[in-house]
Amino acid sequence: MVRLLNSLGATAIGALEQAGRVATLFAQAALWLFRPPLRLRLIFKQMEAIGVNSLPVVIITATFTGGVLALQTFAGFKRFNAESLVGAVVALSMTRELGPVLTALIVAGRAGSAIAAELGTMRVTEQIDALDSLATNPVQYLIVPRVLAGLIMLPLLSLTADALGVLGGWLVGTKLLGINPNLYVRSTFDILDINDIMSGLTKAAFFGTIIAHIGCYCGFYTGGGAEGVGRATTRSVVISSMAILIGDYFLSALLFSK
């Protein structure tokens, strides 16, 4: 029992220590963001990388999620003759919650892990030391563009997911379940507010920053050769996914409480 508590305590301290290091690295990145030069070429390259890595999966996932939402809510709402509300439920769920969160989890799994693998490789092959030796700050050169790209791309991907989710819901709702198309569209846009979309995109921006930064953090502090790179990659996915889901709760509480 004591040993269990001890090990729990050690884990907690380890997690806190880690959180401290993540925060320190983030503060460094934030500082270096405001020092010239801002390397647009690198930012665009990273935006492309995140988009290319994640867009296909986001498209498929969002469309089917919209579809299944329609299917499930239809089954439930039919019991009290509220089928007309299916469109509204799909739209609200997608924009406020599922669009940003699913997109974030996908990006964490694909682009976030790719960032960790790339920076991890750069660490163990001394490319990061080489940057430093060439009088280029590695945080500014590597982390700033990736975090900015995450911050910019996640809302864009998330918006795509929102739209495709609504489309998927519409397809299933009207073509498969026979809801009146006009009714479906009206119910969607009567209830959906621009704030629903914006708050979802705000969350997405947070998630994008977190994913890119965690990927960078795990890669940046990789040790122990090729094996270390593998571990860093896995770790980045685990940490980002947890951060996304926990952060989602608190962000939602904050954004939707009013």
Binding site: E126, Q127, A130, S133, L134, A135, N137
Partner: protein, 257 residues
């Protein structure tokens, strides 16, 4: 060279200690390299040669002791100043450490792209010229992964010398090269020093190369410099450990295969 704020040596290492998780690698290194001098470090693999070199450019910080380069204490200068100082360095890494994501010419021209106002086309030309000096024409648009180990090494050297550094650090420049190419690189280092007055600090296992490029050779053993002297003296060293090393023999204690 013009305007040296420092009257002392180009590189001064005093009482340097470094350990990693209890494993003592450097235990009191004292060493200096004069302006325009070529110093070669020899020593068994794992002796701490690369670790010593990383202290000179501030990639590692000493546990104790001090490293002074061009009159500036590496451990004490502000970050901005350290980066400024690094612009007068060139470093070839043991594993070349080329940037996988960049084509060869951008690797070579990296410091020019980053720290000068040269246009990309000009940098490309400068990179090609430097690549020719290391015997690598027509590789500008390839990527590091497409080159052999020896070729990567030479690209690494090109990257280190493209901005005409005042101090050149080379970690095993000829390891993995055939003897002819090794000779080309040795000649290049000698020429850099003669023509540009570059201070060079080179790690090598290759005694032939060491005696060719060195003004002085220093032997690192068990965390200390056990002898520093001219190649002639080192090659006929009185010290058993040094003599065995330069003659390619194992120390008697480890003999017996």
């Amino acid at each position: 060279m013009t305007s040296d704020a420092s009257s002392g040596p180009a590189i001064l290492i005093e009482d340097l200690y470094k350990q990693f998780e209890g494993h003592e690698v450097l235990r009191g290194i004292d060493l200096h390299v004069d302006h325009g001098e070529s110093l070669v470090i020899i020593g068994g693999s794992g002796a701490g040669k690369s670790v010593l070199m990383k202290h000179i450019i501030g990639l590692l910080t000493p546990d104790r002791g001090e490293v002074t380069v061009l009159g500036k204490s590496i451990g004490k200068v502000k970050q901005r100043e350290l980066y400024e100082l690094r612009k007068s360095f060139g470093k070839l890494f043991q594993g070349a450490a080329l940037f996988d994501s960049l084509p060869i010419w951008e690797n070579v021209g990296f410091s020019l792209l980053e720290h000068t106002r040269m246009r990309r086309s000009e940098v490309r030309r400068a990179a090609s010229e430097t690549l020719r000096q290391v015997g690598l024409p027509n590789v500008e648009d390839r990527y590091p992964a497409e080159l052999s180990v020896g070729q990567r090494k030479r690209v690494g050297l090109a990257r280190a010398i493209v901005n005409k550094p005042r101090i050149l650090l080379c970690d095993e420049p000829t390891t993995g090269l055939d003897p002819i190419m090794g000779d080309v690189i040795d000649n290049l280092i000698v020429r850099m020093r003669k023509q540009l007055g570059v201070t060079t600090f080179t790690i090598t296992h290759d005694m032939k190369s060491a005696s060719k490029i060195a003004d002085r050779i220093a032997m690192l053993y068990k965390g200390k410099i056990i002898q520093v002297d001219t190649p002639e003296v080192i090659l006929r060293s009185e010290n058993d450990i040094v003599r065995n090393f330069v003659q390619g023999k194992r120390p008697s204690a480890e003999k017996g295969e």
